[in-house]
């Protein structure tokens, strides 16, 4: 893609995305009508519990939702192209070139019988008109970029450690300079020291290349470190979205509050953690009202019967919670500037 887009222009627009898995016995509603936009050079964080639909959302942007998943949307537009109507050929050109994804588990994301160099080079060969020796040279450059000596190009994934493998996965994703990079819990499988290395490397590369990035994680610390905007997901819906400051300092949704309460407090080490009681509802049997209501301490009768009302607190800050219809409602978490 040519580099015409100025900083701040949206490269990714998603409207009313729904993903359902229609099984024989039941229908699992993994994603239930989410909308978001992502601007060039910005990073959007998806945060939420396991099973909230974060990865499924990401996979539907690549049209890689596994069978028998059904994706429906009003719009999935990446770099001005509608993804849902792409032909197979367009899709093959689009994947890896306009959008790339870093997968969650580096241990299983690399093909064990090809060298890491081959695995990086074949993406380059696929999308750029280069000879195989040029592709190999580019692959070596990519390895150097993610901090692996180019001389290890001919080695196989089993010869690398977990952190190194994740670097290779990142090198593959970045090989063709995608406009949008999706990072699906890129550090979950790594230990803490390697996590910090990988994250700072990703931040550096994102800033150098002005990429738009989606960071999927359940770690609020990573969100605070990397993201400009945050979308909190619960049971396949975005319950609160806003800039990093808005969501972290002026938290509005009871679920987001619950997430923060589950974190240990560094200022008060003797304080007990306050986990959110209960479990996320079964996605094959979602409640009629707000899906969080059964676990919500502020829930009133109307929360159980009707879908939550969306409240706009600023141009960017949106919360789906009916409680704000009541005058004077506020959550317990103190609001900061």
């Amino acid at each position: 893609m040519e580099d015409k887009k100025a900083l701040g222009e949206p490269v990714l627009v998603v409207e009313d995305l729904q993903v359902r898995f229609e099984l024989e016995a039941e229908t699992v509603s993994a994603v239930n009508g989410i909308s978001f936009t992502l601007k060039k050079g910005h990073t959007l964080g998806f945060v939420g519990e396991t099973g909230a639909g974060k990865t499924t959302t990401a996979l539907s942007l690549l049209r890689l939702v596994p069978h028998p998943g059904k994706v429906e949307s009003k719009k999935i537009e990446v770099c001005g192209q509608e993804v849902s109507t792409m032909t197979t050929q367009q899709l093959e050109k689009y994947r890896g070139n306009d959008i790339a994804m870093i997968f969650q588990d580096p241990m299983t994301s690399l093909n064990p019988v090809f060298t890491v160099g081959q695995q990086i080079a074949d993406t380059i060969l696929l999308h750029q008109e280069v000879s195989s020796s040029e592709a190999k040279k580019k692959a070596e450059e990519m390895l150097e970029l993610v901090g692996i000596p180019a001389s290890r190009e001919g080695e196989y994934p089993h010869q690398f450690s977990g952190g190194m493998k994740q670097r290779v996965v990142i090198a593959i994703a970045l090989a063709c300079n995608p406009e949008v990079l999706i990072a699906d819990e890129p550090t979950t499988a790594l230990d803490v020291t390697i996590q910090a290395q990988v994250l700072s490397m990703m931040k550096k590369l994102r800033d150098e290349r002005q990429m738009a990035m989606i960071m999927i994680t359940h770690d609020l610390g990573i969100i605070a470190d990397v993201c400009d905007e945050v979308a909190v997901m619960y049971a396949g819906r975005i319950v609160e979205t806003g800039t990093l400051v808005e969501v972290f300092n002026r938290t509005k949704h009871p679920y987001t509050e619950g997430l923060f309460n589950s974190l240990p407090n560094i200022l008060n080490r003797s304080a007990r953690l306050k986990p959110i009681p209960g479990l996320m509802p079964d996605p094959s049997n979602l409640p009629a009202g707000c899906s969080f209501a059964p676990r919500c301490k502020y829930a009133k009768d109307e929360c159980f019967s009707a879908q939550p009302i969306v409240h706009q607190f600023s141009d960017t800050h949106t919360v789906a919670c009916s409680a704000y219809a009541r005058s004077g409602f506020a959550i317990d978490r103190p609001q900061k500037k």
């Binding site: 690549l62 890689l64 197979t88 899709l91 093959e92 050109k93 689009y94 994947r95 890896g96 070139n97 790339a100 994804m101 997968f103 588990d105 299983t108 994301s109 690399l110 093909n111 064990p112 019988v113 090809f114 060298t115 074949d122 993406t123 696929l126 999308h127 000596p149 001389s151 290890r152 001919g154 080695e155 196989y156 089993h158 010869q159 996965v169 593959i172």
Partner: protein
């Protein structure tokens, strides 16, 4: 790798000793010897019988006979046939080309059919196409070789001009029916192995990575998935190939194919001990070598296995 191969070849020595002793012992247990068979054809006096047993080296205990056989074997002498009087090695090598042709043709036919079939069935798992191809391969597995051979002769050879009912005299045309006969069972086994091995691989995360790169689905399957699924497939294919190289006895009999399988059967029937023992030793060496080649192929396909063979050489970073 080389050290590993040498080790494996040396390990074949005890196997040869074991196999040769076993076959020697079993031949000894079998009722009657070559003299009894000659006796059925012509009347011999008691002295003549003793004389013949002496010249054929049939007197003495099984152990002394085995020992003297092995002394000759170590010196490269596999003995001569009691029936034809020709050296065993010459007879074996003479029959080998026909067997090699049949083995190669049948393995080629079955690989060309079974791998695409198995891959297709795995991709279409649970659909009608999958079930149909697996029923077909089950059928192939259940059909007895000799029956299929006879049916092919009756239906094809007798009706299609140019396809002989047997023998190895008409070039490619004479290989077709025996290759189909041997290949059918092989195809069935290989197709099922390919399917189950591919099913394992198709659910792997790294294929999602390949798809996310923008590879065509056919390339994802035939290059990135198949290579990972290949180990069980070549294990089965290699084993079957080795066995066929040792002689497809029933098929060779049905098609009067001049291969080593029939040579062995004839030798056993006429109690031609040196011929039978010699052929079976050569057969086990052939099988051993093919299995070794398959094992070395593992290392070519899967770098993780290569790392386990012998010394590990790591390029200095």
């Amino acid at each position: 790798m080389l050290r590993y191969a040498i080790k494996r070849i040396l390990l074949m020595i005890p196997v040869i000793i074991g196999v040769s002793f076993l076959i020697f012992f079993i031949m000894d247990l079998a009722p009657g010897d070559i003299v009894d068979i000659k006796l059925a054809e012509e009347a011999l006096t008691f002295e003549e019988i003793e004389q013949l047993r002496e010249t054929y080296g049939l007197n003495g205990s099984v152990f002394t006979r085995y020992f003297s056989y092995m002394v000759n074997f170590v010196q490269g002498d596999l003995g001569t046939s009691l029936v034809s009087g020709r050296p065993v090695l010459d007879s074996y090598l003479e029959k080998m080309p026909a067997t090699i042709v049949l083995a190669c043709a049948s393995i080629f036919v079955s690989i060309m059919i079974s791998i695409p079939l198995g891959v297709y069935a795995a991709m279409k798992r649970g659909t009608f196409a999958d079930n149909a191809s697996m029923v077909l391969s089950f059928l192939g597995l259940s059909i007895p070789n000799f029956w299929l051979g006879l049916m092919l002769i009756i239906v094809v050879a007798l009706n299609v001009p140019g396809i002989p009912t047997g023998g190895f005299s008409k070039g490619i045309a004479s290989v077709i029916l025996p290759a189909i006969t041997v290949g059918t069972g092989l195809t069935a086994t290989l197709a099922r192995t390919t399917r189950s091995s591919m099913l394992d691989v198709l659910s792997q995360d790294y294929l999602r990575t390949e798809r996310a790169k923008g590879h065509k689905e056919i390339k994802v399957i035939m290059k990135y998935a198949l290579r990972n699924a290949l180990i069980p497939i070549i294990t089965i294919a290699g084993g079957q190939f080795a066995v066929t190289l040792g002689g497809a006895v029933l098929t060779e009999t049905v098609f009067s194919w001049p291969g080593v399988g029939r040579l062995i059967v004839d030798a056993v029937n006429s109690r031609d001990v040196p011929m039978a023992v010699g052929c079976i030793i050569l057969k086990s060496i052939t099988i051993g070598i093919v299995v070794l080649i398959v094992d070395l192929l593992y290392a070519v396909i899967d770098p993780r296995i290569k790392a386990q063979y012998g010394k590990r050489k790591r390029k200095q970073a």
